[in-house]
Symmetry: C2
Subunit: 385 residues, 2 copies
């Protein structure tokens, strides 16, 4: 059996934890190179010790002393700070899981891509805000990009072995979120507590609100546009409340391939870890007879304009998706803190895209600057309101 090396950028987050859960089940197949966290030094040290990592890195340098102490005498190298994170991501690994949340993940993800091996990508900003820059680097370095997100991983599996030129359409499924049956009036009065109760997936507050607004699906549409360049007009969204079908691809002959599975991130992560083979997961077998029915309906972009805004931003290209993403983050935070109404989120995003149209980013530095400026302007918009 060949042993492969793995680096996990964002080891203490939920995707990192699910990944390590799977690596734990096949310990003899993996040598853990680097594990990173933002600051959770104790947790990171415990994982580094358990998996015998070569290197542990905290992005926040103020947490390095605690990490050093926890790893003292272990022989595991400990580093801290943004530069150390990028340096660690640049070290060769057969597989790098890029699972740092937010724009903080951009530079280490880019370093992993430039290292030229296989990158399992879970960082949304890499394709939403920095899509053109990242995919150019992927092409330049011959990197294999494996999508971790359940929808994109489903599409990746359905496309395997097929020529993208034979694709008639790609359909992302969306649960529709907790408000899918709500009318305009109810949506305008939606509270943060209502928005974070997602029906199928257990998720953080930000992504739960994104699911409720459908920005989550819109951002996935932008990512799909970069991952699977078949043309935006071939990318569709369908509401599928049961979240059993994770996405599908229709080919020119009328065949549609769909990937189905439980709402468990270990399934798409296992697909990335073992690709192009398969590995066991402890997930229950699919029992469609027990489920009884799968339902589908067209999205309503009148009540949920987010997917329309994301599609427009993807069509516009350049800086628009980065501005949209930053504006959405500020608007969601404002909603969660009770500063603004649920329905104002999409309105604010649309306003900011209309007001702030910088030149297309050509580097990660440009993306980060656009993101920061968009956030600043989004805060201004909030104060004006």
């Amino acid at each position: 059996m060949t042993t492969r090396t793995i680096t996990i950028l964002g080891a203490t987050g939920s995707v990192g934890a699910s990944t390590l859960d799977l690596v734990r089940r096949e310990r003899d197949k993996w040598r853990v190179e680097t594990l990173t966290a933002n600051c959770q030094a104790q947790e990171l040290a415990a994982l580094a010790l358990e998996f015998g990592a070569e290197l542990a890195v905290v992005a926040d340098p103020s947490c390095l002393p605690e990490l050093r102490e926890a790893l003292a005498g272990s022989g595991i190298e400990a580093l801290g700070g943004a530069d150390a994170l990028v340096e660690a991501a640049a070290r060769p690994a057969d597989l790098t899981l890029a699972a740092i949340v937010g724009c903080a993940g951009l530079a280490p993800t880019m370093a992993a891509i430039e290292q030229g091996n296989t990158v399992a990508l879970a960082n949304k900003e890499a394709l939403v805000s920095a899509g053109d820059v990242m995919t150019a680097a992927v092409a330049r370095h011959g990197t294999t990009l494996l999508p971790v997100d359940s929808e994109h991983n489903a599409i990746f599996q359905c496309l395997a072995g097929n020529d993208p030129a034979h694709v008639r359409s790609i359909t992302l499924t969306a649960s529709g979120g907790p408000f899918r049956e709500w009318n305009h009036q109810q949506l305008a009065a939606a509270t943060p507590a209502q928005a974070v109760r997602h029906p199928n997936w257990s998720m953080g507050a930000k992504i739960s609100v994104d699911s409720a607004t459908m920005f989550n699906k819109g951002l996935e549409l932008i990512e799909a546009h970069h991952l699977f360049p078949v043309g935006l007009e071939k990318l569709r969204i369908v509401i599928h409340p049961q979240s059993v079908v994770h996405s599908m691809v229709e080919f020119r002959d009328g065949s549609t391939l769909a990937q189905l599975g439980p709402s468990d991130m270990r399934v798409p992560i296992a697909s990335c870890l073992a690709w192009p083979a398969r590995m066991d997961t402890p997930c229950e077998p699919l029992d469609l007879a027990a489920l009884g029915e799968l339902t589908f309906r067209a999205p309503d972009e009148d009540r949920f304009p987010a997917t329309r805004l994301c599609r427009q931003a993807a069509e516009q290209g350049g800086a628009a998706p980065a501005v949209l993403n930053a504006a959405n983050e500020i608007a969601v935070a404002a909603f969660l803190s009770g500063q603004t109404a649920f329905t104002r989120i999409a309105v604010m995003v649309e306003e900011l895209i209309g007001r702030y149209a910088p030149a297309a980013p050509v580097s990660l530095g440009d993306v980060i600057a656009i993101d920061a400026e968009a956030r600043r302007r989004a805060h201004e918009l909030l104060e004006l309101a």
Copy 2:
């Protein structure tokens, strides 16, 4: 563009017609080698002329004069009789469609397999009655076997690029037929006219009755067992009245790949014609939002014992599937002619399997002899009843 040669065994049947409909749309990609029919000389001659075939063959030698006359002066060779049919099937072709119905298709299908190129298989008996003999020949000659049946083609597509060792289960979907909601009493009184009204597919009388008894799905289970040797215990059946999901494969990681599409044989045939690429078909795109729902339930082997009988025959192996298939054909014919009750079909099949257990066939000759003897004994059973 490279031109490929194609031979169609059974050109005037419904699978043959659908295939030629697709070839007609990509005339520049194909050179038609041989077209065959049982006796429809005029129809066959017209197709041979239209497609510029090299050879036309009627299985029934009494139809040869009519074929010769219709092709006179065309330069197209015309032959007749069972030997000529086998000889034609043995001529090299890049792709041979084996679509002759019944045991009459066995010898030409075998000749096509022995020719060693790619065979798109639509003849059920080749895998149900002669499964071991045929798959041994496929292995010996390195033939590529592409399944034409929509369920098996779906599985073939879902398995593409995956190691069969990674399969957790394969699930054949079944519409459940026109009687899926009927109770025992209603089933016992079912008439031929009721049985041939299939809800989703337009089919002949025999296969419609097979769909109503679920023998159709049971026979497909036996075929799947030969096509995809993952172990009988991994083969499942689920009732799916809409017939949109044509079948699915679950992998060890919890991923299930499903193939969906319209109830149009041109989709799986196109998959065979273009494999491993894809070709256009005129089939409407799948619109799940318009369909609204897909439902699933467990099969009821109490009301519909056919799938249990077929699974047992596959487990038993040897001659059992051939005996089962022959008994079913006689029983269905007896039901269609008003000689026996609908619910007697499965009873008769079970009785004959219990009474007639010949040695495992090792050649096509054995299979044909077993088939004939099983039919004779099935007729006896009918007369005894």
